[in-house]
Each structure stands twice: as C-alpha cells, then as structure tokens.
C-alpha cells in the first residue's frame, strides 16, 4: 500500500519534510531577529524609523506571500542578480531565496505580535526604568522587551505554526519541500487519498507538538501580575 513512497528518492518523503523543517527553522530565527528590530523601530524615539516600521508592516502584510516568494526568484534573482552566494547551485539558491522571502513576510507578523506584547507591560515598569536614568535602548532591552517576550510566546507560537504551513509556498519557486513532492506524487500515483493523508499527517506532526509545547511554555513563563 505504501510502496509508492520508496519510488521517490529525489527527494525522499523524509527528505522533503526535512526541507520543510529547515525552511521553518532558518526563516523562524531570521524573522524573529528582523521582526524584533522592526518592533524596536516602531516604538523608537526617531520619527523616521517609526514611519519606516509602520510602512513596512502595512505594505508587507497586505501582499500575498506567494507574490513575495515568486518575486524573489523572478525579480531578485533573475533581474537584480541577487544569487544569495550560490550563482550556480540552483537548489541552494532557491532555498535561500525562499528563506529570504519568508523572513521578509513573517517578520511583519512577529513585529505586530511583539508590539502587542510591549503594550501588555505595565506603564510603571518603563516609568521606573526611566526614573533610575535608563535611556531608550536600556529601557527597551533590559526592562520592557524581556517581559514582552514572555507574554507573547503564545502569539509567537501561532506565528511559528503559520510559518511552518507557509513554507509550502516555497514550492512555487521549485524548492523540493513537502508540498512540491506531494504535487508530484499525487499527479503520478493512483492512491490520491492515501497520499493526501500521509502529507497531512506530516504537517499535523510538525505543527501540533509546536503548539502544545509553546503553549505550555507560555503559561509557565508568563509574567504573573
């Protein structure tokens, strides 16, 4: 019944899901960093940075991820010549471009989650920090963000789960991840339902534990007020 799985070795079923995991991890770390920077910009004392942060989030959130990912390949790579340090290795280049697109998109959501977390930190915390003479970077970095992060683990977990599912969009530029393998399999094999079930199961396995673990963590780490 599962014979067809062994017919595919470039990539194998596990290999394709490994690619999904790699896309998720690299994009997750990248968008956490870029999203935090964007959130810092959006609450910073410099009006220009605030404006940039707001504009970035509003523009990127309203463009379909598919448009962004396809653009990284047809626009960035083909026209702008951004080959991501792999001009000849198209597999690696596609992977890196997809990660770049996913970071650009997901960071906007990380930024918004963090910003709402910053709003949950009581005003007195920042006031006390300012009263003892800390400047903006210190107030944000030492007092506010550490508390904000702990209160947004739940929302960030949802962003991470959405990101895991969004990595399938990388299939549009030919990254050999799970959705692309499923497309190939389902077109060539007779067992439509079985293939659908196998891939669905794979994503349930990836997203369900993430949600459970991070939710547990968010309850444990939440700042008790």
């Amino acid at each position: 019944m599962f014979d067809f799985i062994s017919d595919y070795d470039d990539p194998t079923l596990l290999g394709a899901f490994w690619m999904t995991v790699k896309l998720t991890v690299f994009s997750g770390v990248g968008s956490l960093i870029w999203g935090t920077l964007l959130a810092a910009m959006r609450v910073s004392p410099v009006p220009l940075m605030r404006g940039f942060g707001t504009a970035y989030v509003n523009i990127v959130r309203n463009i379909p991820l598919t448009v962004i990912i396809v653009f990284t390949s047809l626009g960035l790579a083909d026209i702008f010549g951004v080959t991501m340090g792999a001009p000849d290795d198209f597999e690696l280049q596609g992977f890196r471009l997809a990660v770049l697109g996913l970071i650009a998109y997901t960071a906007a959501f990380v930024c918004e989650a963090l910003r709402s977390g910053i709003n949950t930190v009581p005003v007195g915390q920042a006031e006390a920090a300012r009263a003892i003479g800390l400047n903006f970077t210190q107030v944000l970095g030492l007092i506010v963000l550490p508390q904000a992060f702990r209160s947004v683990i739940g929302p960030l977990a949802n962003v991470l789960i959405a990101l895991t599912k969004n990595t399938t969009v990388a299939a549009t530029i030919g990254v050999a991840e799970a959705a692309l393998l499923m497309k190939e399999m389902i077109e060539n094999e007779a067992q439509t339902l079985l293939i659908g079930a196998v891939f669905a199961f794979g994503f349930v396995v990836l997203t369900l534990p993430t949600g459970l673990i991070l939710n547990w963590l968010s309850k444990r780490l939440a700042v008790k007020r």
Binding site: N62, I79, N158
Partner: protein, 300 residues
C-alpha cells in the same frame, strides 16, 4: 508623540535623534539608489515597459480579468465557508460529546494543514472523481481548499464570538424559558455575528492573499497568474510585479481599514453588549485559550 518608553528629548537627545535620522536616511537612500541603478542597468525603467499600464489593453486583457477571478474565488470561498464555519463552531459548543468531539477534530485537523495541500488534493480529486471540466477545475480546487481551511478558522471565530458574549444573555434566555436551540439562534448568534464582523472582514484579507497560491500552483487565472502572461507579452517583469503588488496592497489595505473602522464603531456602539472580536484576535485564537480573555476586548 510622546511615549512611556523614553523621556521628552532634551538638547542632547534631539541632536542624537537627528544624527540617527540622517544615518537611517543615508542607508535607506543607498538601498533605493542600488534598486534604481540595477533597474536602470537592466532596462526595467524604460518607458516602453511602463507604458502598457497607461493604456487600456493591459488592464482589460490581463489585470482586470485576473483581479475579477481573484475576487470571485475569494467571495465564493467566504460565502461557502461562513455557514459551514458557523455550523462547526456551534457544533463545538454542543452539550453532547458525540457532536462536540468530531467537530473539534475536523476543525483542528484542517487548521493544522497548509492550504496549498488542500488545494493540490482537491485539484487531483476533481480531476479523477468528478467531470468538472479542466478549465473550471482550478477555480473549484482553489475554492474547495480555501473553504475547508477558512471554515475551520471561522468556526473558531464563531465559537469565540459566542463565548465572548456576557453570560447574562444565555441565562436570561433560559430564564424566560427558551430552548437551547432558540437561545442559540434568537439570542446568541445574532449578537455574535455582529461581534465577529471585523474578524470576518480581516479573514477576507487572508483569503484574497491565498488565492494567489492557486495561480502559481494550479494555473488558476487570478491576478498573479495574469501578471505572468502580461510580463511574457510586454517583457516587463519588475513593472508588472510592482503594479500587481500595488493592486493587492490597495485592495487588502481597504479591507483592513474597513475592519478596524467596523471594530471601532462596534466598540463605541451603545446597543451592543460590548463584545467585539477584533482583527488581531483571529491569529491569536487558540483551542486552549478561547473562553478566557479573548474577544472580550479587555486585553487591549
């Protein structure tokens, strides 16, 4: 604008802010200059590539039909997903375990799966098991995938909307002797729908964005797919991407603004119970947490 995060700038802080602004502008200008220069080198700024967008042909042949298909798929998905989602959401609130549990399994399953997988599967299913013509199939597949996913998201919205209503509503309904089904259809659902409106509108943005997936993966002739045909005809890759992205931004920004306007209006309204499910609440919906502070507007 002052913030609690920093003091009102004194002379030194003002100077530092100016320096930071200048550095930031310099970096931004450098990036823009690089974009400009590369586009110029590759001939992407030539007027002949932009000219089509000032003439009617590019719009009537490619962009507008593409946009129409995007909107058609999005509208169909929303119209079908809404009643289905309401049904699933109410089923999850049932007092009977044998109704509640299967509904929860269906909702959690379809929420855990990427919408692209659902589209690919639906496409193959329609090709093999039905006689939907191959020209209609992409639309059917895209709508099926979007309906399955969004019905389960909307089920959570409906559930949260009903749970967000003050307890007094259902207690009062019980006190005057209404049945459970009457309480739901006459008292809770009408109020929940009002509370959910902003969340539903912002879910429409997600649907519009997801139609683009069908364009690339299934050959559905929506906006992004039409961009490909257009760019093949006029050889204007970058201009066509910019125009299509702008159309999406304007469309979705309008929807988002409408959603937050609705949210504000509902929150201010004296006639409502004050329960409003805002745009941001949809992302935060979580099985474990619905019924807590979500949707009450208290956490914002």
């Amino acid at each position: 604008m002052t913030s609690v995060l920093y003091d009102a700038p004194g002379p030194r802080a003002k100077r530092r802010n100016v320096i930071l602004s200048v550095v930031f502008v310099a970096v931004l200008a450098l990036a823009l200059w690089w974009i400009y220069k590369t586009m110029d080198d590759k001939g992407q700024l030539e007027w002949s590539l932009w000219k089509p967008f000032t003439q009617s042909e590019a719009w009537t042949t490619y962009l507008l039909p593409g946009l129409a298909d995007t909107l058609k798929a999005a509208a169909l998905s929303m119209v079908i997903a809404l009643p289905l989602g309401a049904f699933l959401g109410i089923a999850r609130l049932s007092d009977h375990r044998w109704v509640r549990v299967p509904a929860a399994v269906v909702v959690e399953f379809f929420r855990a799966i990427p919408v692209l997988l659902l589209m690919l599967f639906a496409n193959e299913f329609f090709a093999r098991s039905t006689d939907v013509s191959s020209s209609d199939r992409p639309l059917y597949a895209v709508v099926t995938g979007l309906v399955l996913y969004n019905a389960s998201v909307l089920a959570e919205v409906v559930r949260a909307g009903i749970l967000a209503l003050p307890k007094g509503q259902s207690e009062a309904a019980q006190a005057i002797g209404l049945r459970k089904s009457q309480t739901m259809t006459n008292i809770l659902l009408p109020q929940a729908v009002t509370a959910m409106l902003p969340a539903i509108v912002s879910q429409l943005v997600v649907i519009v964005k997801d139609t683009a997936l069908g364009g690339v993966m299934l050959g559905f002739t929506e906006l992004l797919n039409s961009r490909g045909t257009l760019a093949a005809n006029y050889a204007n890759v970058i201009p066509s991407f910019i125009v299509v992205a702008l159309i999406f931004i304007v469309l979705n920004f309008t929807l988002t603004s409408f959603a937050s306007w609705l949210e504000g209006r509902l929150r201010r309204s004296k006639r409502s119970t004050g329960a409003v499910l805002g745009a941001g609440d949809v992302d935060d919906l979580n099985a474990a947490e619905v019924g807590g502070t979500y949707g009450t507007g208290a956490d914002q």
